[in-house]
Symmetry: C2
Subunit: 315 residues, 2 copies
């Protein structure tokens, strides 16, 4: 097992700490602000209890996993023996450039330095570094201890060895790394989500469907198969001869509708009145926090179900 | 409980028969070709056994539900007492127009006549009918006895009463109806799926990600939350202040990438070589049938999990 440094102890940093400690690594968490790390261990202990109750701690006790997580007061101390650094500072280019400069100077030469950024391309904040070949993005969907996918995004100068070590490190920790061949705005997941949301907002803006109707179509429809196969395997199994057969049979339907999709929708414009009114009616804004707790419980139950189904039926 | 007529006994017709009989309705199934209905009852009995094993028959026995399904040899007999007709003939406009003419003549005036079409707008095959106000589309995702979402699509002349009766009928049968305000090519689900697939094909065509990477991003990432919340509730809970706050924080990321999405990809063109090669390597084409069996088992286990989670945590 290795030592992992977590730089920045907000929700993403804490969530990564849980995932890496569960995998057996010694985690050293550091934050610029000592008050930020204050509640971190209590918060983590609470999550670990929920994970244990859902049999999602690899059979380990809460105390065992929690014992692997140390909050340290000096960045150098966090980095000293680290094989992997996971950086989780605010999404600000100047901050990232400065933090990466610091880490690159303090970490051992063979240490991999990964950023959790969802918005910034790795080339934008690693170009100036001596050790830029060992820098890259590892972007999670929150929370990574429940959602396995993580996007591994190289800068043009990220070495193949760095990519391969990171991939293996993530797989070992129970993640499903998605290794991009080169960097691109939005990476893969936000691009797919954006494409879907754009059509969702357009359907509402043009008055064809309600917000809830769109959610039904995904929640009680398309996302069921997607949640264990993904969209390509779904269409591969949706025609007798596989994916080519599917495209030959159905591309005509899709070709008809694409010209209607070339017009952009301003999500924050007039349609937002409709979206917010409908969402507020279903979920009063004062209940957003309670519903987030509900979401996390359902996500944990789903993760437990997927683990069981993988074992029973195969992946 | 009502009598339901199923016109056309292929996979979609059989699947609807299972769903409606499970809900307590008497189902009368008719097909132009007597050989088509031949294996239908054996097939249905097999599915009912699997559903019973997953506690998805509302506590009823296979024999009870199967006893509600009769194959009849005359269309008039199927329609005689029907409150709801579900039509499942081939996706051919001339066929649909003719079948709807027949049904509209033979069915009682108050009977609702629904088509399972995924590709044809209801206005295209009901305009000539005396009873066109009681005609509409009810489009399932297959198989409807496991996937609750069903798109209810009115023609311009479909009456509000027809829409409301159909919605209530579907809810009663355990479905999640998505009632469109007016018809549109691709309805809602195929449009959302098409928008996502278009970006997926583009990412592969442009060499940023592999087919498997896209599937990981959905299967092990985005679709987990989507499978119990849908995309709008997901973003509503993904910023402290709800959906408006989310859009204010993140629309900038999406705005950057949309101009890159305006170029169409020919799914059946050069990219298909890559897609098919990768899929064939993961799943030899001779194993497509086995994998479809696997998909149906996983889907059934997921349906059972969702039912349990709905009861435990609420929807």
């Amino acid at each position: 097992m290795a030592t992992v440094a977590i730089v920045g102890s907000g929700f993403i940093g804490r969530a990564w700490a849980i995932s890496f400690a569960r995998a057996g690594h010694d985690v050293r968490m550091w934050d610029q602000s000592p008050t930020a790390t204050g509640g971190a261990r209590d918060y983590i202990a609470g999550v670990l209890g929920d994970l244990a109750a859902n049999d999602l701690l690899r059979g380990q006790s809460v105390a065992t996993v929690l014992g692997r997580i140390a909050v340290v007061s000096e960045l150098a101390e966090a980095l000293a023996d680290a094989a992997h650094v996971q950086e989780n500072t605010p999404e600000n280019l100047d901050v990232k450039r400065e933090v990466f400069s610091l880490i690159d100077k303090l970490a051992r030469p063979q240490t991999v330095i990964a950023s959790s950024t969802s918005a910034l391309l790795p080339s934008k904040f690693t170009d100036h570094l001596q050790g830029r070949h060992r820098c890259l993005v590892v972007h999670p969907i929150n929370p990574p201890y429940l959602i396995p996918a993580a996007e591994v995004v190289p800068a043009p100068w990220t070495s193949a060895e760095t990519l391969e070590r990171t991939r293996a490190f993530l797989v070992d920790a129970g993640h499903a790394p998605l290794v991009m061949k080169r960097e691109l705005d939005g990476f893969v997941m936000n691009r797919l989500q954006g494409a879907l949301l754009e059509e969702a907002f357009r359907l509402v803006a043009d008055g064809y469907a309600s917000v809830e109707d769109v959610d039904i179509g995904i929640r009680d429809g398309l996302a069921l198969r997607w949640s264990f196969m993904g969209p390509f395997e779904t269409i591969d199994l949706n025609a007798p001869g596989g994916v080519r057969d599917y495209v030959e049979r159905y591309q005509g339907i899709y070709s008809n509708i694409f010209p209607q999709m070339l017009r952009r929708v301003d999500w924050g414009g007039e349609v937002m009145e409709t979206v917010e009114a409908e969402r507020s009616k279903r979920l009063p804004r004062k209940d957003l926090g309670d519903r987030q707790v509900w979401r996390d419980r359902r996500l944990m139950a789903l993760a437990a179900h997927k683990k069981k189904s993988d074992q029973e039926f195969g992946q």
